[in-house]
Amino acid sequence: MSPDPAPPTAGSAVRDRDNAVIDVRALHKSFGANHVLRGIDFHVSRGEVVCVIGPSGSGKSTLLRCINLLEEPQSGQVFLGGVELTDPDVDIDAARRRIGMVFQSFNLFPHLTVLENLTIAQRRVLRRPRQQAEQVARGNLAKVGLSEKAGAYPAQLSGGQQQRAAIARSLSMGPEVMLFDEPTSALDPELVGDVLAVMRDLAAEGMTMMVVTHEMSFAREVANRVVFMDGGVVVEEGSPEQVIAAPRHERTRSFLARVLDPAAAAGPIE
């Protein structure tokens, strides 16, 4: 179904911060007494696909949500292309246009058709004329294989189709980087493949991506770099070969054992 992803440029990019699209420094985030992120340093370079893995409650989704400031961190900095988003004087709406975000629960707008879902922000935020917005939208629908669903409402789509429409919605804004927050966790197993195929295609095109996921095979095949988080810190990171195939830390090893061998898992992971 899907073309092979671009071969990963192995661990060489790990500390290449000059080229970082997203750069996170010493990030702390608490919800009340719950200290979720405990000093995160993290970056995504241009054209890189970074998969963030880790047990539930490890803070990986919170990290992703802090990057476009859906959650406001207590301290630390987030940079997008060298501009500090955590600076209160920065226009966060303008920054968010450059960051695509895909949610676990799709979050399509149920009162709008698929096409309108893809055009509303283009028209209201980017002020594109209707014709141009629809042209962009139809291009992206074709890309995710949903051309014939343009006039449908989200409730008429399967979960996999909804998630692909949500990806197309983000792409229609022409983002520099895409954030995926467990994009396949809410899907029936047989629908996961289509969504992952779309993401593989995106990666192959050179899109910069940060993916919070439990899909280890996706991480192994597509990621340039895998980051393992636990307890609000980055425990280890490196190429998929290093982190998934030969983890150095005990916490990484026990997590991977649980995820890769479902029989050993005590319960469902998130």
Binding site: N68, L70, D93, A94, R96, R97, I99, G100, M101, F103, S105, N107, L108, F109, P110, H111, I120, A121, R124, V125, L126, A155, A166, R169, S170, M173
Partner: protein
Amino acid sequence: MTSRLADAGGSAGVRRSRLTRRQRRRISLGIQYAVFVAVVAILAALADWHTLRQNFARGEIAREMFPDVLTVALKNTVIYTLTGFAAGLVLGVLIALMRLSSVPPYRWVAMAYVEIFRGLPALLIFIFVGVGVPLAFPGITIPGGTVGKVALALALVSAAYMAETVRAGIQAVPRGQREAARSLGMSSGRAMVSIIIPQAFRIIIPPLTNELVLLFKDSSLVLFLGVQLEDRELTKFGRDLASTKANITPILIAGLCYLVITVPLSYLARRLEAHNAKANA
């Protein structure tokens, strides 16, 4: 209690009751029907049918009411209600947004408004608008004549209820909708207008329809504003005619006119509610 237990364990346990479940159900239904028939019969026997017909259903008085009861009274009732509803909805949305504001004084004002106007009888508000406003602001007349005054009074009454309904609707829209809108670069206000409020309104159309039914009835309070002949609505119209003719028939006809509007509206509200419930299932 014991017999029910016996039933539950019917096959295994001992039968303590002499009646089967079917027999008991038959007796219970029989008693309920008997009571119903008895009450209707007693009421029918006690009523003085001749006087009732004389007072409530005089055909020639009813005929005399037409067409004015429709072309003036019902029309005015509809106009008062719809203008009041529209004004109340605008004010209600404004107050709902104030209640959700991050600026505390806005929240305080909105909360005070809701508490005060929900706690006051509609009649008092009508008297206040009719008497109080001209006294308090001499030289300023409420635009729109009687319609303007009624719309203002009905808006003040209904806005308090509608604000709470709208607020509940806004809060019922899933958080992810707002997050998705913001992540696409929409400002907070844009997300509210394009994404949140349209969804909130779908949720609250049934309760708003019920509010419209209530307003239809409240529009009868125009009575207390002192209106001119051509501004009379159903209740005032019926009451005036009833006292001229010393007969209740006009009130009955006016009442039927209300029901012609409110019963279908209530039915519509129930349908919409059922539709929403199905869509959310």
